[in-house]
């Protein structure tokens, strides 16, 4: 068995190298399919990890109590009740809403400067961070700053609607942008909680309360208690948000994979065609192999290994080109000027999956022609002319 397989692979190798052009075209078919699978899956995983880290930075908390999108109507003192719930480590009230700066919308977060570092991990690039009493100061991320063309010590004007009259803030610090989905959704604009409440005219009220847990695994229990305490509030745990996002991502993954598998199927047809031709050309050889005592499975293995070898080569190059394809997509996104950073995660699982997919396609596509070869009647194959 092993000996036959080794012999079959010797023959497959020579058969492929003898018909170089035909083999190359067939292998190319598989390369296209596998590289599509690998690049789209790498992209999918990259996007997923991007979304996850963004959410971590944006939410910064295990549980978030919301007053609805951009509404600011949770009484601030609620926070003191929440702090007493067992399992809650810290509860931080914030105001998160939308402001217009130079007629463009941005998400602004008002937060107690002392507590900010508990939920948001930021890195300063220039200037300094917010301090207690910095009520006319703003910290921007570098993307927004460069969009607005401002530097430290410059001023920006906030208004609640486009073209409205607003309040002027002084830029005191510039931070590195946090992960996000473009400038409209990411958070890159911080003022103090007092300044925000003052600006939006919502004294003693906040838009959300971020809750940090003692133990991240206690999320469900704490959430249940909070839901009992505030039946009307919108309480989201990070896990819930994640699972919602994951569902969306899985749908996207499925669509991408579906597209990739179409090209893989075309590659499979190529293999089937090549092996069919090989079987047709080598009919006499099959007859001889049977005459010297070869059984069906001997012949089957010989032709199947040709299909497997083609798909293996296609799989290896497909993985390499697939990763190259991810770089290409990154470059493409960058030249389009989109502020989306797609991280490139080379995952060994995806590469293994690419190879397994290639071999599966090869064996499935190669089986029918190999089976035909295995069932060639030697007497007919050997009859000359």
């Amino acid at each position: 068995m092993f000996r036959t397989a080794r012999f079959a692979f010797t023959m497959a190798r020579r058969s492929i190298t003898r018909r170089k052009f035909r083999s190359a075209l067939t292998i190319l078919g598989i390369i296209i399919g596998i590289s599509a699978v690998v690049s789209l899956m790498t992209l999918g995983i990259g996007m997923r990890s991007q979304v996850e880290s963004t959410l971590n930075e944006m939410l910064g908390a295990g549980i978030i109590i919301n007053s609805g999108t951009y509404g600011i109507d949770i009484p601030e003192h609620v926070q003191s009740y929440i702090s007493q719930v067992p399992g809650v480590n810290k509860s931080i009230p914030i105001v998160m809403s939308m402001v217009y700066i130079s007629n463009k919308p941005y998400t602004v977060v008002g937060i107690d400067p002392v507590q900010a570092s508990e939920v948001y991990q930021v890195t300063l690039e220039d200037g300094r961070g917010l301090r207690q009493g910095d009520d006319d100061a703003v910290v921007l991320d570098s993307t927004i700053a460069s969009n607005l063309g401002v530097k430290v010590n410059d001023t920006v004007t906030f208004s609640t609607q486009a073209g409205g009259v607003g309040k002027t803030f002084k830029v005191i610090g510039i931070i590195r942008p946090m992960a996000g989905f473009g400038q409209f959704v990411s958070i890159g604009c911080f003022i103090t909680l007092d300044a925000a409440q003052d600006f939006f005219n919502t004294h003693d009220r906040v838009s959300s309360i971020l809750i940090r847990l003692d133990d991240p695994n206690q999320g469900e229990q704490v959430e249940a208690i909070l839901k009992q305490m505030f039946p009307d509030a919108s309480i989201l745990s990070q896990e819930e948000i994640m699972s919602n996002i994951n569902q969306v991502m899985s749908t996207i993954d499925g669509v991408l994979l579906g597209l990739a598998s179409i090209s893989l199927m075309v590659g499979a047809l190529g293999i089937m065609n090549t092996i069919m031709m090989s079987v047709h050309e080598r009919r006499r050889e099959i007859g001889m192999l049977k005459a010297v005592g070869g059984e069906r499975w001997h012949v089957l293995i010989i032709f199947l290994s040709e299909a497997l070898l083609i798909s293996l080569i296609g799989g290896v190059f497909g993985c390499i080109f697939g990763l190259g394809g991810v770089y290409l997509i990154q470059w493409f996104v960058k030249t389009l000027g989109l502020n989306i950073i797609v991280p490139l995660l080379i995952s060994p699982q995806i590469l293994a999956l690419g190879l397994i997919a290639a071999l599966a396609v090869g064996s499935i596509a190669g089986f029918y022609p190999s089976w035909k070869a295995a069932n060639v009647r030697p007497v007919e194959a050997l009859r000359y002319e």
């Binding site: 006499r284 069906r296 007497v379």
Partner: protein
Amino acid sequence: MSNVVELRDVVKTYDLGDNIKVDALRGINLTIKRGEFVSIMGPSGCGKTTLLNIIGGLDSPTDGQVIIDGIDITHMSEGELARIRREKIGFIFQTFNLVPLLTALENVQIPMIFAGRFSNSEIKERAIELLRLVGLEHRLHHRPTQMSGGEQQRVAIARALANEPSIILADEPTGNVDRETGWKIIRLIKGLNETLGQTCIMVTHDPTIAQISERIIYMLDGQIIPEPPKLTINPSSSMLADERRQMLLAELKWLEASIKGLEVRKNRLNQESYAQVKLGYEKQLERLKKVVQEEYEKRRSK
């Protein structure tokens, strides 16, 4: 157990569909002794190759019984027949049928790889030894395309001997090589038959090559005919007129079929052997005409 091949009333009918049936073999009874060298002769389409395929377990008879080396293979399954082929039979073909992708050494190894009887190192050693036996020790790593027809056929002979078969079946082994090479190959097969004691059954069109065998079996229209209608009939013998006429008719039919077969094969033969065989047939025909003429005159004078 001295009979290595025993065929009893073997019939082979090919069903070509649309109710068209071709009787390739019509009741063959044949026994071949161990170590015998037998030639099968007959015009094209007389069933020689079908007979060889049935002896070799490549084809099953429609009716009758086939016993090879004491084993009844008549009703064997495909897999069992494959085992019989690898263990008992060595095939040599007119067109050599080597795998073009493989070297001489690798081609000889194929039957041993399938059989799984020898270890890897034994297989290689044995293949080298067999190629030495056929005088090709300097061609071990050559591909078929790098070898002459004669050399290719010698590789095929080495391959046929790989699993030490009881029977060597050769279907026109000299059909694709020139006459001189053909003789070398025949002498090689004959020599191996004598030294290794394997039974050889050879199909050939060439009457001179057939002479090397101990026994010649003549076939016509799917049957074995007792004696070739040879021109040894003495017109003046005391044969009955009727009997003589039948003999002459059979002889004429044989010659006609042979000549037809020769014309069919014309392109596959080289000019020299074609001319030689054709000349032989023409001489036979001439003599046959003479015999008929004499017969005719004898009757008229009566």
